[in-house]
Symmetry: C2
Subunit: 312 residues, 2 copies
């Protein structure tokens, strides 16, 4: 049983109450606490030494990543982060200097995104460090974007470049908060998700939630330089396209808009964020399933994004 099968078995029948707008299954939980005009967004994300970061990774970058992952989920809802709690499980003995450097990285990212670090706890995990961050955010009700809103015919966009993140970017990526806020302020975004499990895997989550299908255009998928270099350096590596489809930890935004919006959105983006690529990589289809169009035609896409359980 893998992570997804386990979650699928556990989530039905979980306790709920009148404040729940969206429970498990989107990038964040969405709650109506009675905030005028707004929903609360609630998210936790954990990183584990040896799984999500190497033991010799610079602690500042580990702290950054631990917070930035959850911020990326807030971005994917169109929201603004407010505050965070940090659970730090430390091996024994622990190195206080390592913890201080980790917190310095966490804190710098928190300040940059106006997130208050309002506490948390330290505890013991004897064999390895584990860092879990809980995030609280808000979003205007009419700007809250779910995974489930994609419609047949929608254009499918992705920010940035994909693949090869584990060679370095996964510790340094910038969550796309400002970009998502700009998108929801100016355009009717039908559905959005952040790319943590790889384009193929996360697009599957989006079309599953929206009860639609998708067709990707192979030549339009933006492949990162890191993925290309890896493919060249290692004969056993994935092709660059497969890396872009399945590597994971890109933390870019994948979203859908009505086809009439595609061109004006793309033009406005280039003016607003000239340094960040935005690519239309395919379309949403009424027919279920995920397909890839390349020179040979259209074929079902079987490459999965990795599951966290299989990664290490």
């Amino acid at each position: 049983m893998n992570e997804w099968e386990l979650i699928a078995r556990l989530t039905p029948g979980l306790a709920t109450n009148a404040s729940v707008v969206v429970a498990a299954g989107d990038d964040c939980a969405v709650l109506d606490l009675g905030l005028p005009g707004q929903f609360a967004l609630f998210k936790t994300d954990a990183v584990v030494e040896g799984i999500h970061f190497a033991s010799d990774a610079p602690p500042e970058k580990v702290g950054h990543k631990a917070l930035a992952r959850g911020l990326s989920d807030i971005a994917a809802m169109g929201g603004q982060p407010n505050s965070a709690l940090v659970t730090l499980a430390l091996p024994r003995p622990f190195d206080p200097a390592r913890v201080e450097r980790l917190y310095a990285g966490l804190n710098a990212t928190a300040q940059r995104f106006n997130v208050a670090l309002v506490g948390g706890e330290t505890t013991t995990n004897p064999e390895r460090m584990l860092l879990s961050v809980a995030l609280l955010g808000t979003v205007e009700k009419e700007r809250c974007v779910l995974r489930s809103g994609a419609q047949a015919g929608d254009a499918l966009f992705v920010t940035g470049e994909l693949g090869g993140s584990l060679s370095g970017r996964h510790l340094e990526f910038e969550p796309r908060i400002a970009e998502a806020r700009w998108l929801t302020a100016h355009f009717a975004i039908h559905a959005m998700i952040d790319l943590s499990d790889g384009l193929a895997g996360d697009l599957r989550h989006l079309i599953h939630a929206s009860k639609v299908g998708a067709e990707l255009l192979a030549s339009a998928i933006p492949v990162s330089r890191a993925a290309k270099l890896q493919a060249r350096a290692e004969s056993s590596a994935k092709t660059p396209l497969l890396a872009a489809l399945t590597d994971g930890e890109d933390f870019e935004l994948l979203f859908t808009v009505p086809p009439s919006v595609a061109v004006p959105l793309h033009d406005a983006w280039k003016k607003q964020f000239p340094q960040i690529r935005l690519n239309c990589i395919g379309k949403i289809t009424a027919e279920p399933g995920l397909h890839l169009r390349d020179k040979q035609g259209v074929k079902p896409l079987t490459a999965h994004g990795y599951t966290h359980f299989a990664k290490s």
Copy 2:
């Protein structure tokens, strides 16, 4: 360096913003998100296999404890819990039946306290299970009780009985949500904390936050039957009084009220909660420090509550 010293070194200078009412240092973080008349309460709490529960502990009880610990912190602020996210880090291989039983315990407690389980994640922690619960709650602004409000002359009360919790109660305790809600609805509670580190340790937190001292009356401290049995069974065990002062994991409420309120509160409590003991165990003093009064007179109390780092 222990847990407290580390936290003291990390917390100054953490990122903050305009919504923060209370950051690190109380039972929960308190946030003003713009909810009319209310604050949001935000808390995380983690339990680790082999540290906070034994590997052979019934999984249902582990799930209960993981949620109930945070609920006890919400109670200590006078608040109502709203929703929770569950981070479950599983050893490899993991036993799906164990996880399902754990979730059954979590879910039953969530339903009893009207807490929505709105998601979370599973991840890998190869050597042992770790379970972290993030909680969101609310409290009317005028009923939010901090650790820092105790005043010289206040009467000091504790619910339930103390000590010996690790022999079983720590997996079964009921968070005192209803009791705290009743207290703040009817009386001016000056300060409150829940007992996780032991009466002596948590009272130190309370008087430190309030910049006061306290004098405990040894004969008034309610010692649990478990603590008495342990003292009798093991010659190396703590005395029952020392166990009640330092064992930890009692998850009872410790609070202070103006002295004029002490008798009417005690009388009303007995009618409202006849099955739960409430004891006046001492008073808040202007003189700093923690003292214990017994037949021999008044002496400084040096016994600390345990720190989590020293526990196992």
